[in-house]
């Protein structure tokens, strides 16, 4: 049977409950919520005067009511040490989500740490150290002293390149401006660490260098533009599952035609119709299904390309649009580079350097460099040529009254983690530049995002470009100390099988050395650890909110607080910055990451002074923060563009709507922001002119991909599931999610399953030259033969095991283009017998 909570009554929020602003700390969209809390020994009542809604709760409330919350929105948590009821429910007045809660965000309360209701008991409550052969709780001072002594010893002996760091760079949980600044000031200010990587990729780099190098920041429009566009082009994004309420609250009204009034009001001098949508994705997703339901199939163009051939499609669209004369000549003349520098000598095989794998140029040279006929692209992509022409028409053919079409282009991991990231990104931005669809209502060429953003750090120029391929450094035995901040590479990296094998061996060497010394002998312990490092060992420190798989290999664990247990600021996919106010206590001794970084800096300063290294110790000053607001003021307020206008007090007053970055001034106490970028036609380059990219097709770019495609039977496409946030780090202890997905699913065509003797729910092994993993077979008639889709980063079957180490020139991983063989492991285990394997698509009857 499906999991049921058997909760048939919930405490009612009293009229005098406390209310805190909350931005969901999961995905990029950042939906607005409110956290209501009140003491555990009180409750509201059904009479209007006795509850916060002011309505009679003895009556049935109807659809979309504000006066209801589900059991997943309720919990009992500590607030200043006292038990309090907590309800976290979506805010109907937030312009992002208008009261919608996704299956992830609407579980924020249930995913909170509660001793009373036993939720998230996995949370780390105390620092832990490897002592007597296991991880044991200890004090902050003890744990930080050990980390500081080993780290300072290694960086003073061998230099800062011997310290390897894995750290979040994003917003929301496990990030945010406070925490990226805290870690950034430690590693890029006090030190100049170069061997650093980010949670989801093996280096310290942008996922979208292409668009940035062209002068087009990747978050350049407003969510409202999806309501205003004539055409939405969605590339490599399954927006209904991964930017859920952005899709539901801003795309659907336009597909349905319910934003027509707004379009006519804001853009009165042109023809308007409900939006059309072009979806570029090798797989039919629930996004395609929902778009067809809302817009009618005739207004949905699903371009199911062969995996990894996006660049060929974009170049054919660019060519056809230019040849038809559907370009925006005034925009090109005024806002883009007019010169066309010579191609690098080895182009297109190589750019002028690995740091610049494309060729930035003017419109005419780009058109010639990218030129691809519709028929040629049809051959490469597997599409019908007529569909490519139709896509070009939907993007750029003038409307019936002769006005330009407004086309919004959104892209995400299908492109970012796809073949030839840099040039494919560039080829897509070419289309937006050629048609003048940046900085205009209903336009934008934007990444749709994964996490929220929240980046403010000292200059990272010393890291270099291309930056170090950190996984390969670790695999090849380099580095002596590894600091990990909210990353679990065992679940989320490529080449994960090999990575885990080497990482375990190196960290085990240090564990064995630690076992040989009495823990209280601190000098002896440091010497034993250093000796093991000299033999190829690795000392690993893990800062996280939960126990992770990579944490099992670590020697010190430091417990962090998450959003809501601390005040935290982030911005969403339209640069909307909000403050989540602290509404509950962190578990046990857990602290905000920024303060952990500060305390580690304090200890390193002390150890360096003890070593007589006063000059070095001085670099670790400036970490006397006592609160996360201190870190915010030191970081964002003092360093971010427009940060001087932004304070906690002002953000708090601006609630769940906040403002859109960058801040440009104040209106009274209200922060004035920026709705869209580039409305003046001046782009983010030294001369203000955007660049086109000469980006010819060159097949599967990353090493080993073409060989893998030819050697194995199945494409192992991979990505996200609606139920699950990120690597399921909280969901793994959520009964509702684990009931649905006890194992990662792999969508397979039923005929492929029959050929392999596999039934629904059977566990299958996915294996290739990189490694092996497991998944649960999910029959999917809409899948193409030989093409599967597997849930990424799931704890009970890590897809990264079978992704080879190939990256692009800038060390962007290529997760999506993976091929492997599949065989049956076992019949569906008992834990799968209750699971539904029906179509995820909505049907009307």
């Amino acid at each position: 049977m499906a999991y049921k909570r058997h909760i048939d009554r919930l405490p009612i929020i009293p009229s005098d409950a406390q209310r805190h602003n909350v931005t969901c700390h999961f995905c990029i969209v950042g939906c607005g919520y409110h956290a209501y809390s009140w003491p555990a020994n009180r409750q509201g009542g059904t009479a209007p005067s006795d509850n916060v809604f002011g309505v009679d709760l003895a009556e049935q409330q109807f659809a979309e009511t504000e006066a209801w919350y589900s059991p997943s929105m309720y919990n009992i948590v500590k607030q200043n040490g006292q038990d309090h009821h907590l309800v976290i429910k979506p805010d109907p007045n937030c312009v992002v989500n208008s009261g919608l809660g996704s299956i992830r965000g609407a579980r924020l309360a249930e995913l909170s740490y509660s001793e009373v209701r036993s939720t998230q008991q996995q949370r780390l409550t105390d620092p832990q150290v490897w002592r007597y052969g296991q991880l044991q709780p200890t004090s902050w001072d003890d744990a930080l002293d050990l980390v500081a002594r080993v780290t300072t010893r290694i960086i003073t002996d061998d230099g800062e390149d011997s310290l390897i760091v894995s750290a979040f760079d994003h917003g929301g949980a496990g990030g945010g401006y406070e925490n990226t600044w805290g870690t950034g000031k430690l590693y890029f200010g006090a030190m100049k660490v170069r061997n650093i990587r980010i949670h989801n990729r093996p280096a310290y780099n942008s996922e979208v260098h292409g668009t940035r190098d062209m002068g087009v920041g990747e978050l350049n429009n407003a969510y409202e533009d999806a309501e205003l566009a004539d055409t939405i082009m969605a590339v490599g994004t399954n927006a209904l599952e991964t930017q859920t309420n952005y899709f539901l609250n801003h795309w659907v009204p336009n597909l349905r035609g319910s934003s027509l009034g707004k379009k006519r009001e804001m853009m009165p001098d042109e023809a308007h119709a409900p939006a059309r949508i072009i979806i570029v994705d090798p797989r039919r997703t629930v996004t395609v299904n929902a778009a067809e339901m809302e817009a009618g199939p005739e207004n949905v163009l699903h371009l199911a390309i062969k995996s990894g051939t996006d660049l060929a499609l974009f170049n054919a669209l660019f060519t056809h649009i230019a040849d038809q004369g559907w370009i925006d000549r005034d925009f090109i003349d005024q806002s883009t580079l007019q010169e066309s520098p010579d191609r690098p000598p080895l182009y297109p095989a190589r750019g002028v350097a690995d740091a610049n794998p494309g060729h930035l140029t003017g419109f005419e040279a780009a058109i010639e460099g990218c030129r691809m006929s519709v028929d040629e692209a049809a051959e490469i992509t597997g599409l019908d040529p007529a569909d490519i022409v139709k896509a070009a028409e939907w993007i750029a053919m003038p409307k019936e009254d002769g006005t330009r079409r407004r086309t919004m282009i959104g892209y995400e991991k299908g492109l970012i983690w796809g073949n030839d990231n840099y040039r494919t990104n560039g080829a897509l931005v070419n289309i937006a530049l050629a048609t003048g669809n940046i900085g205009r209502l209903g336009g934008g060429v934007v990444r749709l995002g994964g996490h929220q953003e929240g980046y403010v750090r000292p200059n990272e120029g010393h890291v270099g470009r291309p930056s170090a391929y950190v996984d390969q450094l670790l695999i090849s035995g380099q580095g002596g100390v590894h600091h990990i901040w909210a990353c679990d590479h065992y679940k989320t990296t490529l080449n994960a099988h090999r990575f885990k094998s080497v990482y375990k061996r190196r960290t085990d060497m240090v564990k064995d050395a630690m076992n040989s010394v009495p823990y209280g002998d601190r000098d002896g312990m440091v010497e034993a650890i250093v000796a093991a490092i000299r033999l190829g060992g690795l000392f690993a420190v893990d800062v996280d909110i939960v126990p992770t798989r990579i944490g099992e290999a670590c020697h010190v664990i430091l417990p962090a607080a998450t959003s809501g247990e601390m005040n935290l600021t982030s911005m969403n996919g339209e640069r909307r910055m909000r403050l989540t106010e602290r509404y509950m206590d962190p578990p046990g001794q857990a602290m905000p990451d920024c303060l952990i970084a500060a305390r580690l800096a304090n200890h390193m300063e002390r150890v360096l002074r003890d070593m007589g290294r006063d000059d070095y110790a001085d670099q670790f000053q400036g970490f006397d923060w006592q609160t996360e607001e201190d870190a915010f003021t030191d970081g964002y307020h003092a360093n971010a563009g427009g940060g001087e206008f932004v304070t906690y007090e002002r953000l708090s007053a601006m609630g769940t709507n906040g403002f859109q970055e960058p801040a440009v001034g104040l209106d009274g106490d209200r922060i004035v922001g920026t709705t869209r970028l580039y409305t003046d036609g001046v782009f983010s380059t030294a001369d203000g002119k955007a660049r086109f990219m000469d980006a010819p097709w060159r097949g599967l770019q990353a090493p080993g991909k073409a060989e893998q495609r030819d050697a194995y039977a199945f494409l192992i496409n991979n990505g996200r599931a609606n139920h699950v946030w990120q690597s399921a780090y909280l969901d793994v202890q959520n009964d509702y999610v684990m009931d649905r997905w006890p194992f990662p699913y792999i969508e397979m065509h039923p005929d492929d399953m029959a050929d392999l003797g596999v039934s629904e729910g059977d566990l299958v092994e996915i294996y290739n030259d990189a490694g092996s993993t497991q998944a649960m077979a999910y029959p999917t008639p809409t899948a193409r033969r030989g093409e599967t889709f597997m849930l990424f980063a799931y704890p009970t079957g890590v897809q990264g095991n079978v992704i080879n180490p190939g990256t692009n020139e800038l060390i962007i991983p290529n997760y999506k283009q993976t091929w492997a063989d599949i065989r049956r492991l076992s019949a569906a285990p008992g834990s799968v017998s209750h699971v539904s394997f029906k179509s995820k698509e909505y049907v009307r009857d």
């Binding site: 009554r9 409330q61 589900s70």
Partner: protein, 172 residues
């Protein structure tokens, strides 16, 4: 004493998994206003309501009902094949709310797929798997009725296993 019998029927309580929940249910039933320092979610007293007779049901055709009161629409379904949690002599009778637990939109039943489908935000629930959300935005699986079938085929609902949309107590 027909009235008294009815009271007994109404007072029939189900104690199911979730120990703190059941304990609080006892407390709520025995004290006018519980004075425990740590309140928890409490069960309510469900009416035992006759919804239909087995003979009223056709295989895979939803039969409209309302439970626990007239403001809570739902359906009974005779699936034709036994399912876990199914009632009746063939173990194939199930009952569900038809109000989506995400945002309260009325759902339709697909007889072909045997799923409930929500036009609001495309959620899909499997009638043959205890209302498991196949895909969607609700943070609950579909609330299902606890059914009792008498020897004469009368089908009684006597409880619901999840909170119904739009009410903070399943029984108002």
């Amino acid at each position: 004493m027909k009235r008294c019998n009815a009271q007994v029927d109404i007072g029939r309580r189900q104690f199911l998994r979730g120990t703190s929940v059941s304990a609080a249910g006892v407390a709520a039933a025995t004290m006018a206003r519980p004075a425990k320092a740590v309140p928890a979610a409490a069960r309510v007293d469900y009416p035992s309501t006759k919804l239909a007779n087995i003979a009223d049901l056709e295989v895979n055709v939803p039969f409209d009902v309302a439970y626990p009161d007239g403001d809570a629409p739902g359906v009974l379904l005779k699936l034709g094949t036994p399912v876990e949690g199914g009632a009746g002599p063939d173990g194939d009778v199930v009952g569900f709310t038809t109000v989506c637990p995400h945002k309260g939109f009325p759902m339709s039943y697909s007889s072909e797929r045997r799923t409930f489908n929500c036009p609001g935000h495309y959620s899909v629930f499997d009638a043959e798997k205890g209302g498991q959300q196949v895909w969607g935005q609700a943070t609950q699986n579909l609330p299902q009725y606890m059914l009792r079938v008498e020897a004469n085929g009368d089908i009684y609902a006597e409880g619901v296993d999840e909170l119904l949309y739009g009410r903070l107590s399943n029984v108002l």
